[in-house]
Protein backbone atom coordinates (compact mmCIF):
# COMPACT_ATOMS: atom_id res chain seq x y z
CA UNK A 1 0.00 0.00 0.00
CA UNK A 2 1.08 3.60 -0.64
CA UNK A 3 -0.13 6.21 1.83
CA UNK A 4 -1.18 9.50 0.28
CA UNK A 5 1.24 12.40 0.12
CA UNK A 6 0.29 15.84 1.44
CA UNK A 7 -0.84 17.09 -1.98
CA UNK A 8 -3.01 14.02 -2.48
CA UNK A 9 -4.70 14.43 0.91
CA UNK A 10 -5.38 18.07 0.08
CA UNK A 11 -6.72 17.06 -3.35
CA UNK A 12 -9.16 14.60 -1.78
CA UNK A 13 -10.45 17.19 0.70
CA UNK A 14 -10.83 19.73 -2.11
CA UNK A 15 -13.17 17.42 -4.04
CA UNK A 16 -15.73 17.76 -1.21
CA UNK A 17 -15.87 21.57 -1.49
CA UNK A 18 -19.08 22.50 -3.26
CA UNK A 19 -19.93 25.23 -5.71
CA UNK A 20 -20.57 28.43 -3.75
CA UNK A 21 -19.04 27.23 -0.50
CA UNK A 22 -17.29 29.78 1.72
CA UNK A 23 -14.22 27.99 3.05
CA UNK A 24 -11.43 28.76 5.50
CA UNK A 25 -8.23 26.76 5.10
CA UNK A 26 -5.96 26.29 8.10
CA UNK A 27 -2.22 26.67 7.77
CA UNK A 28 -0.19 23.65 6.61
CA UNK A 29 -1.73 20.91 4.44
CA UNK A 30 -5.23 22.50 4.32
CA UNK A 31 -3.79 25.55 2.52
CA UNK A 32 -2.82 23.26 -0.36
CA UNK A 33 -6.47 22.34 -0.98
CA UNK A 34 -7.10 25.69 -2.68
CA UNK A 35 -5.03 24.50 -5.63
CA UNK A 36 -7.11 21.36 -6.20
CA UNK A 37 -10.69 22.60 -6.41
CA UNK A 38 -12.03 21.15 -9.66
CA UNK A 39 -11.82 23.53 -12.62
CA UNK A 40 -15.02 25.50 -13.20
CA UNK A 41 -16.22 25.14 -9.59
CA UNK A 42 -16.46 28.46 -7.71
CA UNK A 43 -15.36 28.13 -4.10
CA UNK A 44 -14.73 31.33 -2.12
CA UNK A 45 -11.82 31.24 0.30
CA UNK A 46 -11.73 33.26 3.52
CA UNK A 47 -8.58 34.22 5.39
CA UNK A 48 -8.71 35.14 9.07
CA UNK A 49 -6.68 38.32 8.52
CA UNK A 50 -9.54 39.92 6.66
CA UNK A 51 -9.77 38.52 3.13
CA UNK A 52 -12.86 37.07 1.47
CA UNK A 53 -12.08 35.80 -2.01
CA UNK A 54 -8.46 34.83 -1.48
CA UNK A 55 -6.72 33.61 -4.62
CA UNK A 56 -3.67 31.47 -5.35
CA UNK A 57 -0.03 32.32 -4.73
CA UNK A 58 1.06 35.35 -6.79
CA UNK A 59 2.88 34.81 -10.07
CA UNK A 60 6.55 35.82 -10.11
CA UNK A 61 6.72 39.60 -10.43
CA UNK A 62 3.12 40.09 -9.24
CA UNK A 63 3.82 39.88 -5.50
CA UNK A 64 2.06 42.46 -3.31
CA UNK A 65 3.49 42.96 0.19
CA UNK A 66 0.04 44.04 1.44
CA UNK A 67 -1.47 40.65 0.54
CA UNK A 68 -0.70 37.84 2.98
CA UNK A 69 -2.61 34.76 4.11
CA UNK A 70 -3.06 33.30 7.60
CA UNK A 71 0.37 31.64 7.37
CA UNK A 72 1.89 35.04 6.46
CA UNK A 73 2.69 33.85 2.94
CA UNK A 74 2.05 36.13 -0.02
CA UNK A 75 -1.31 35.62 -1.66
CA UNK A 76 -3.75 37.29 -4.08
CA UNK A 77 -7.34 38.47 -4.30
CA UNK A 78 -9.75 37.05 -6.88
CA UNK A 79 -12.27 39.13 -8.80
CA UNK A 80 -15.17 39.80 -6.44
CA UNK A 81 -12.92 39.57 -3.39
CA UNK A 82 -13.10 42.03 -0.52
CA UNK A 83 -11.39 43.05 2.71
CA UNK A 84 -12.75 43.36 6.22
CA UNK A 85 -11.24 44.15 9.60
CA UNK A 86 -10.38 41.49 12.15
CA UNK A 87 -13.54 41.67 14.24
CA UNK A 88 -15.65 41.08 11.13
CA UNK A 89 -13.30 38.39 9.80
CA UNK A 90 -13.82 36.47 13.06
CA UNK A 91 -17.52 37.27 13.15
CA UNK A 92 -17.68 35.32 9.87
CA UNK A 93 -15.74 32.46 11.46
CA UNK A 94 -17.47 32.34 14.84
CA UNK A 95 -20.97 33.22 13.68
CA UNK A 96 -21.55 30.21 11.43
CA UNK A 97 -21.20 32.11 8.17
CA UNK A 98 -18.54 29.83 6.70
CA UNK A 99 -19.63 26.55 5.14
CA UNK A 100 -16.38 24.70 5.75
CA UNK A 101 -13.39 25.06 8.03
CA UNK A 102 -10.61 22.71 6.94
CA UNK A 103 -7.99 22.32 9.66
CA UNK A 104 -4.80 20.52 10.49
CA UNK A 105 -4.66 18.50 13.73
CA UNK A 106 -2.38 16.70 16.14
CA UNK A 107 -5.18 14.44 17.39
CA UNK A 108 -8.90 13.83 16.91
CA UNK A 109 -11.05 11.76 19.27
CA UNK A 110 -13.86 9.40 18.32
CA UNK A 111 -16.34 12.06 19.49
CA UNK A 112 -14.75 14.61 17.17
CA UNK A 113 -12.77 16.42 19.85
CA UNK A 114 -9.93 18.35 18.22
CA UNK A 115 -6.42 18.99 19.55
CA UNK A 116 -4.39 21.19 17.23
CA UNK A 117 -3.00 24.16 19.16
CA UNK A 118 -0.34 23.02 21.63
CA UNK A 119 1.90 20.07 22.39
CA UNK A 120 2.88 21.77 25.65
CA UNK A 121 6.57 22.01 24.84
CA UNK A 122 7.99 23.85 27.88
CA UNK A 123 10.80 25.36 25.79
CA UNK A 124 8.41 27.34 23.60
CA UNK A 125 5.44 29.62 24.25
CA UNK A 126 2.09 28.21 23.14
CA UNK A 127 0.25 29.81 20.23
CA UNK A 128 -3.45 29.43 19.46
CA UNK A 129 -4.02 31.94 16.66
CA UNK A 130 -7.47 31.41 15.15
CA UNK A 131 -7.60 27.66 15.84
CA UNK A 132 -10.25 27.79 18.58
CA UNK A 133 -12.40 30.21 16.62
CA UNK A 134 -12.16 28.07 13.48
CA UNK A 135 -13.08 24.93 15.41
CA UNK A 136 -16.42 26.21 16.72
CA UNK A 137 -17.94 28.38 14.05
CA UNK A 138 -18.15 26.84 10.59
CA UNK A 139 -21.14 24.76 9.47
CA UNK A 140 -18.79 21.86 8.74
CA UNK A 141 -15.44 21.29 10.42
CA UNK A 142 -13.08 18.90 8.66
CA UNK A 143 -9.56 17.82 9.47
CA UNK A 144 -6.63 16.78 7.27
CA UNK A 145 -3.83 14.92 9.06
CA UNK A 146 -1.44 12.00 8.88
CA UNK A 147 -3.15 8.90 10.27
CA UNK A 148 -0.31 8.18 12.71
CA UNK A 149 2.49 10.19 14.31
CA UNK A 150 6.20 9.89 13.50
CA UNK A 151 6.53 6.82 15.73
CA UNK A 152 3.55 5.15 14.08
CA UNK A 153 1.25 5.76 17.05
CA UNK A 154 -2.43 6.54 16.33
CA UNK A 155 -3.54 10.14 16.20
CA UNK A 156 -7.20 9.18 16.10
CA UNK A 157 -7.85 8.38 19.75
CA UNK A 158 -10.57 7.51 22.23
CA UNK A 159 -9.69 10.73 24.04
CA UNK A 160 -7.19 13.38 22.97
CA UNK A 161 -4.00 13.51 25.03
CA UNK A 162 -3.00 17.01 24.04
CA UNK A 163 -5.07 19.96 25.31
CA UNK A 164 -8.31 20.40 23.37
CA UNK A 165 -8.97 23.11 20.84
CA UNK A 166 -12.71 22.37 20.94
CA UNK A 167 -14.82 19.37 21.85
CA UNK A 168 -17.08 17.34 19.55
CA UNK A 169 -16.58 19.58 16.53
CA UNK A 170 -14.93 17.50 13.78
CA UNK A 171 -17.27 15.98 11.21
CA UNK A 172 -14.87 14.40 8.73
CA UNK A 173 -11.21 13.33 8.85
CA UNK A 174 -9.01 13.00 5.76
CA UNK A 175 -5.86 11.03 6.47
CA UNK A 176 -3.15 9.58 4.28
CA UNK A 177 -4.96 6.22 4.60
CA UNK A 178 -8.68 6.87 4.77
CA UNK A 179 -11.67 9.22 4.81
CA UNK A 180 -13.54 8.84 8.09
CA UNK A 181 -16.76 10.47 9.28
CA UNK A 182 -17.44 11.23 12.93
CA UNK A 183 -21.02 10.10 13.59
CA UNK A 184 -23.17 9.85 16.73
CA UNK A 185 -22.44 6.10 16.58
CA UNK A 186 -18.67 6.57 16.36
CA UNK A 187 -16.18 6.62 13.53
CA UNK A 188 -17.39 5.47 10.12
CA UNK A 189 -14.81 4.73 7.42
CA UNK A 190 -16.06 5.89 4.01
CA UNK A 191 -12.93 5.36 1.91
CA UNK A 192 -9.66 3.49 2.33
CA UNK A 193 -6.51 3.30 0.18
CA UNK A 194 -5.84 0.19 -1.94
CA UNK A 195 -3.79 -2.54 -0.34
CA UNK A 196 -4.89 -1.71 3.20
CA UNK A 197 -7.14 -4.14 5.09
CA UNK A 198 -9.84 -3.21 7.59
CA UNK A 199 -7.77 -4.85 10.31
CA UNK A 200 -4.70 -2.97 9.12
CA UNK A 201 -6.50 0.38 9.41
CA UNK A 202 -7.99 -0.59 12.77
CA UNK A 203 -4.50 -1.44 14.07
CA UNK A 204 -3.41 2.15 13.41
CA UNK A 205 -6.52 3.67 15.01
CA UNK A 206 -7.28 3.59 18.74
CA UNK A 207 -11.09 3.70 18.85
CA UNK A 208 -13.28 1.07 17.23
CA UNK A 209 -13.92 1.74 13.55
CA UNK A 210 -17.07 0.92 11.63
CA UNK A 211 -17.02 0.60 7.88
CA UNK A 212 -19.62 2.08 5.52
CA UNK A 213 -21.84 -0.44 3.75
CA UNK A 214 -20.56 1.06 0.50
CA UNK A 215 -16.92 1.35 1.52
CA UNK A 216 -15.05 2.89 -1.42
CA UNK A 217 -11.42 2.84 -2.43
CA UNK A 218 -9.63 6.15 -1.67
CA UNK A 219 -8.42 7.00 -5.15
CA UNK A 220 -6.44 10.14 -5.93
CA UNK A 221 -4.32 11.22 -8.91
CA UNK A 222 -0.62 10.28 -8.69
CA UNK A 223 0.25 13.92 -9.27
CA UNK A 224 -2.82 16.09 -8.65
CA UNK A 225 -3.17 18.80 -11.25
CA UNK A 226 -2.89 22.30 -9.84
CA UNK A 227 -5.78 24.49 -10.92
CA UNK A 228 -4.73 27.46 -13.01
CA UNK A 229 -5.06 30.88 -11.35
Amino acid sequence: MTPLRREQMAWRAAQDLNEGDFVNLGIGIPTLAASYVPAGREVIFHSENGILGMGPKPAAGAEDPFMIDAGKNLTTLVQGGSFMHHADAFLMIRGGHLDVSLLGAFEVSERGDLANWTIEDPAFPPGVGGAMDLAVGAKSIRVIMEHTDKRGEPRILRSCRYPLTASACVQRIYTNLAVIDVTPDGLLVQEMIAGLTRDGLQAMTEPQLRFAAELKPLVVPAVPEVRAA
Binding site: S47, E48, N49, G50, I51, D64, P65, F66, M67, I68, K72, L77, F83, M84, H85, H86, A87, A89, F90, L91, I93, R94, A123, F124, P125, P126, G127, V128, G129, G130, A131, M132, D133, V136, G137, P163, L164, T165, A166, S167
Partner: protein, 236 residues
Amino acid sequence: MVYGCGTSRGQAELIDKQMRTTAEAVAGVRDGATVLVAGFGAVGVADQLLEALHEQGARELTIVANNAGNGDHGLARLIHSGRVRKVICSYPRSGDYSAFLKAYRAQALELELLPQGTISERLRCHAAGLGGFFSPVSAGTKLAKGKETREIDGRLHVFERPLKGDVALIKADKADRWGNLTYRKSARNFNPVMAMAADLTVVEVEEMVELGALDPEAVVTPCIFVDRMVVVGAKA
Protein backbone atom coordinates in the same frame (compact mmCIF):
# COMPACT_ATOMS: atom_id res chain seq x y z
CA MET B 1 -5.29 59.56 31.06
CA VAL B 2 -5.87 62.78 29.16
CA TYR B 3 -3.98 63.49 25.99
CA GLY B 4 -4.07 66.54 23.80
CA CYS B 5 -4.15 66.17 20.07
CA GLY B 6 -1.42 68.73 19.63
CA THR B 7 -1.07 72.08 17.98
CA SER B 8 -3.03 72.89 14.91
CA ARG B 9 -1.23 74.70 12.15
CA GLY B 10 -2.47 77.61 10.12
CA GLN B 11 -5.87 78.82 11.20
CA ALA B 12 -6.20 77.86 14.85
CA GLU B 13 -9.90 76.99 14.65
CA LEU B 14 -9.46 74.22 12.09
CA ILE B 15 -9.17 70.64 13.26
CA ASP B 16 -5.76 69.28 12.41
CA LYS B 17 -4.62 66.08 14.05
CA GLN B 18 -1.37 65.85 12.09
CA MET B 19 1.84 65.83 14.13
CA ARG B 20 5.19 66.85 12.69
CA THR B 21 7.15 63.90 14.09
CA THR B 22 6.58 60.40 15.37
CA ALA B 23 8.02 61.59 18.70
CA GLU B 24 5.21 64.16 19.02
CA ALA B 25 2.74 61.49 18.01
CA VAL B 26 3.62 59.20 20.94
CA ALA B 27 4.32 61.92 23.51
CA GLY B 28 2.72 61.35 26.90
CA VAL B 29 2.46 57.56 26.85
CA ARG B 30 2.89 56.60 30.50
CA ASP B 31 4.71 53.78 32.21
CA GLY B 32 2.32 50.88 32.74
CA ALA B 33 0.14 51.83 29.75
CA THR B 34 -1.76 49.22 27.75
CA VAL B 35 -0.73 49.65 24.12
CA LEU B 36 -2.76 48.15 21.27
CA VAL B 37 -0.33 47.19 18.49
CA ALA B 38 -2.22 46.53 15.27
CA GLY B 39 -0.97 44.33 12.44
CA PHE B 40 -0.86 40.70 11.44
CA GLY B 41 2.62 39.27 11.03
CA ALA B 42 4.65 42.12 9.56
CA VAL B 43 1.72 43.60 7.60
CA GLY B 44 -0.15 46.66 8.83
CA VAL B 45 2.14 47.33 11.80
CA ALA B 46 2.93 50.93 12.82
CA ASP B 47 6.66 50.24 13.08
CA GLN B 48 7.69 53.90 13.04
CA LEU B 49 5.43 54.66 16.02
CA LEU B 50 6.81 51.64 17.87
CA GLU B 51 10.34 52.90 17.24
CA ALA B 52 9.29 56.32 18.54
CA LEU B 53 7.74 54.72 21.61
CA HIS B 54 11.07 53.02 22.25
CA GLU B 55 12.80 56.40 22.07
CA GLN B 56 10.12 57.92 24.29
CA GLY B 57 11.06 55.44 26.98
CA ALA B 58 7.76 54.28 28.55
CA ARG B 59 8.24 51.12 30.62
CA GLU B 60 6.16 48.34 32.17
CA LEU B 61 3.94 48.28 29.10
CA THR B 62 1.15 45.78 28.44
CA ILE B 63 1.03 45.04 24.73
CA VAL B 64 -2.08 43.75 22.97
CA ALA B 65 -1.20 42.36 19.54
CA ASN B 66 -1.76 39.32 17.37
CA ASN B 67 1.91 38.36 17.35
CA ALA B 68 4.86 39.22 19.58
CA GLY B 69 7.28 41.19 17.44
CA ASN B 70 9.47 40.33 14.50
CA GLY B 71 13.22 40.73 13.99
CA ASP B 72 14.95 43.50 15.93
CA HIS B 73 12.72 46.51 15.28
CA GLY B 74 9.39 47.87 16.46
CA LEU B 75 7.67 45.69 19.06
CA ALA B 76 10.65 43.31 19.15
CA ARG B 77 12.92 46.22 20.11
CA LEU B 78 10.59 47.26 22.94
CA ILE B 79 10.64 43.68 24.25
CA HIS B 80 14.40 43.38 23.81
CA SER B 81 14.91 46.57 25.82
CA GLY B 82 12.80 45.28 28.70
CA ARG B 83 9.99 47.81 28.28
CA VAL B 84 7.23 45.21 28.13
CA ARG B 85 5.78 43.65 31.26
CA LYS B 86 3.03 41.64 29.59
CA VAL B 87 2.01 40.52 26.11
CA ILE B 88 -1.62 39.66 25.33
CA CYS B 89 -1.63 37.91 21.96
CA SER B 90 -2.89 34.89 20.05
CA TYR B 91 0.25 33.65 18.37
CA PRO B 92 3.72 34.67 19.59
CA ARG B 93 5.49 32.08 17.42
CA SER B 94 5.45 34.05 14.18
CA GLY B 95 8.37 35.15 12.02
CA ASP B 96 11.61 35.91 13.88
CA TYR B 97 10.22 36.16 17.40
CA SER B 98 13.61 35.64 19.09
CA ALA B 99 13.32 38.82 21.22
CA PHE B 100 10.04 37.56 22.70
CA LEU B 101 11.35 34.00 23.12
CA LYS B 102 14.40 35.20 25.04
CA ALA B 103 12.30 37.33 27.39
CA TYR B 104 9.72 34.53 27.79
CA ARG B 105 12.38 31.97 28.71
CA ALA B 106 13.97 34.43 31.15
CA GLN B 107 10.49 34.97 32.64
CA ALA B 108 11.05 38.68 32.05
CA LEU B 109 7.50 39.13 30.80
CA GLU B 110 4.07 37.58 31.19
CA LEU B 111 2.16 36.00 28.28
CA GLU B 112 -1.63 35.95 28.20
CA LEU B 113 -2.73 33.80 25.29
CA LEU B 114 -6.17 34.48 23.79
CA PRO B 115 -7.95 33.12 20.74
CA GLN B 116 -7.48 35.57 17.89
CA GLY B 117 -11.17 36.34 17.45
CA THR B 118 -11.57 36.81 21.20
CA ILE B 119 -8.94 39.56 21.11
CA SER B 120 -10.67 41.42 18.29
CA GLU B 121 -14.16 40.99 19.78
CA ARG B 122 -13.09 42.07 23.28
CA LEU B 123 -11.63 45.22 21.71
CA ARG B 124 -14.82 45.82 19.73
CA CYS B 125 -16.84 45.22 22.87
CA HIS B 126 -15.01 48.01 24.73
CA ALA B 127 -15.37 50.30 21.71
CA ALA B 128 -19.12 49.60 21.69
CA GLY B 129 -19.52 50.42 25.37
CA LEU B 130 -20.56 46.90 26.31
CA GLY B 131 -19.71 45.04 29.50
CA GLY B 132 -18.66 41.77 27.90
CA PHE B 133 -20.04 38.85 25.95
CA PHE B 134 -20.46 35.07 26.07
CA SER B 135 -18.53 33.16 23.42
CA PRO B 136 -18.42 29.45 22.58
CA VAL B 137 -14.76 29.86 21.61
CA SER B 138 -12.37 28.17 24.07
CA ALA B 139 -15.24 26.72 26.15
CA GLY B 140 -14.02 23.60 27.93
CA THR B 141 -10.35 24.27 27.09
CA LYS B 142 -7.32 25.34 29.11
CA LEU B 143 -7.68 28.90 27.82
CA ALA B 144 -11.06 29.23 29.54
CA LYS B 145 -9.68 28.32 32.94
CA GLY B 146 -11.03 30.62 35.64
CA LYS B 147 -13.56 32.27 33.33
CA GLU B 148 -17.27 32.36 34.07
CA THR B 149 -19.32 30.00 31.89
CA ARG B 150 -22.96 29.73 30.93
CA GLU B 151 -24.92 27.28 28.85
CA ILE B 152 -26.85 29.13 26.15
CA ASP B 153 -29.18 27.17 23.86
CA GLY B 154 -27.54 23.96 25.03
CA ARG B 155 -24.01 25.10 24.26
CA LEU B 156 -21.30 26.04 26.73
CA HIS B 157 -20.13 29.66 26.49
CA VAL B 158 -17.32 31.56 28.20
CA PHE B 159 -17.71 35.11 29.51
CA GLU B 160 -15.23 37.52 27.98
CA ARG B 161 -14.64 41.00 29.33
CA PRO B 162 -14.10 44.10 27.21
CA LEU B 163 -10.47 44.96 26.43
CA LYS B 164 -9.36 48.56 26.33
CA GLY B 165 -6.15 50.27 25.34
CA ASP B 166 -4.68 53.43 26.80
CA VAL B 167 -3.02 53.90 23.43
CA ALA B 168 -3.52 52.32 20.00
CA LEU B 169 -0.74 52.41 17.40
CA ILE B 170 -2.36 52.26 13.99
CA LYS B 171 -1.01 51.92 10.45
CA ALA B 172 -3.19 53.40 7.72
CA ASP B 173 -2.74 54.24 4.06
CA LYS B 174 -4.47 57.59 3.55
CA ALA B 175 -5.87 60.14 5.97
CA ASP B 176 -7.38 63.61 5.88
CA ARG B 177 -6.83 66.26 8.58
CA TRP B 178 -9.97 65.18 10.45
CA GLY B 179 -8.53 61.67 10.76
CA ASN B 180 -10.70 59.71 8.36
CA LEU B 181 -8.69 56.65 7.36
CA THR B 182 -8.35 54.10 4.58
CA TYR B 183 -6.12 51.02 4.56
CA ARG B 184 -4.27 48.85 2.05
CA LYS B 185 -5.68 45.38 1.38
CA SER B 186 -4.86 42.82 4.09
CA ALA B 187 -2.93 45.50 6.01
CA ARG B 188 -6.36 46.54 7.34
CA ASN B 189 -6.51 43.56 9.77
CA PHE B 190 -6.64 44.69 13.44
CA ASN B 191 -6.22 48.39 12.65
CA PRO B 192 -9.87 49.55 12.50
CA VAL B 193 -10.95 47.64 15.61
CA MET B 194 -7.93 48.75 17.64
CA ALA B 195 -8.42 52.35 16.46
CA MET B 196 -11.86 52.26 18.10
CA ALA B 197 -10.74 50.73 21.39
CA ALA B 198 -8.19 53.10 22.95
CA ASP B 199 -8.23 56.41 24.82
CA LEU B 200 -5.54 57.75 22.51
CA THR B 201 -5.41 56.55 18.91
CA VAL B 202 -2.21 57.43 17.09
CA VAL B 203 -1.90 56.71 13.38
CA GLU B 204 1.06 56.54 11.05
CA VAL B 205 -0.10 57.12 7.49
CA GLU B 206 1.55 56.92 4.11
CA GLU B 207 -0.21 59.96 2.74
CA MET B 208 -2.31 62.91 3.88
CA VAL B 209 -4.97 64.04 1.44
CA GLU B 210 -7.19 67.13 1.39
CA LEU B 211 -10.37 67.05 3.43
CA GLY B 212 -13.04 65.84 1.01
CA ALA B 213 -10.63 63.86 -1.16
CA LEU B 214 -11.49 60.52 0.44
CA ASP B 215 -14.62 58.89 -0.96
CA PRO B 216 -17.04 58.95 2.01
CA GLU B 217 -18.29 55.52 0.94
CA ALA B 218 -14.73 54.17 1.20
CA VAL B 219 -13.69 55.58 4.59
CA VAL B 220 -13.01 52.57 6.85
CA THR B 221 -12.20 54.35 10.13
CA PRO B 222 -14.31 57.49 10.64
CA CYS B 223 -12.40 60.39 12.18
CA ILE B 224 -14.17 60.22 15.56
CA PHE B 225 -11.77 57.44 16.60
CA VAL B 226 -8.53 59.18 15.64
CA ASP B 227 -6.53 61.56 17.85
CA ARG B 228 -3.11 62.02 16.27
CA MET B 229 -1.53 61.27 12.93
CA VAL B 230 1.94 61.42 11.46
CA VAL B 231 3.07 60.85 7.88
CA VAL B 232 5.85 58.32 7.36
CA GLY B 233 7.58 56.95 4.28
CA ALA B 234 8.19 58.51 0.88
CA LYS B 235 5.45 61.15 1.18
CA ALA B 236 6.48 62.39 4.66
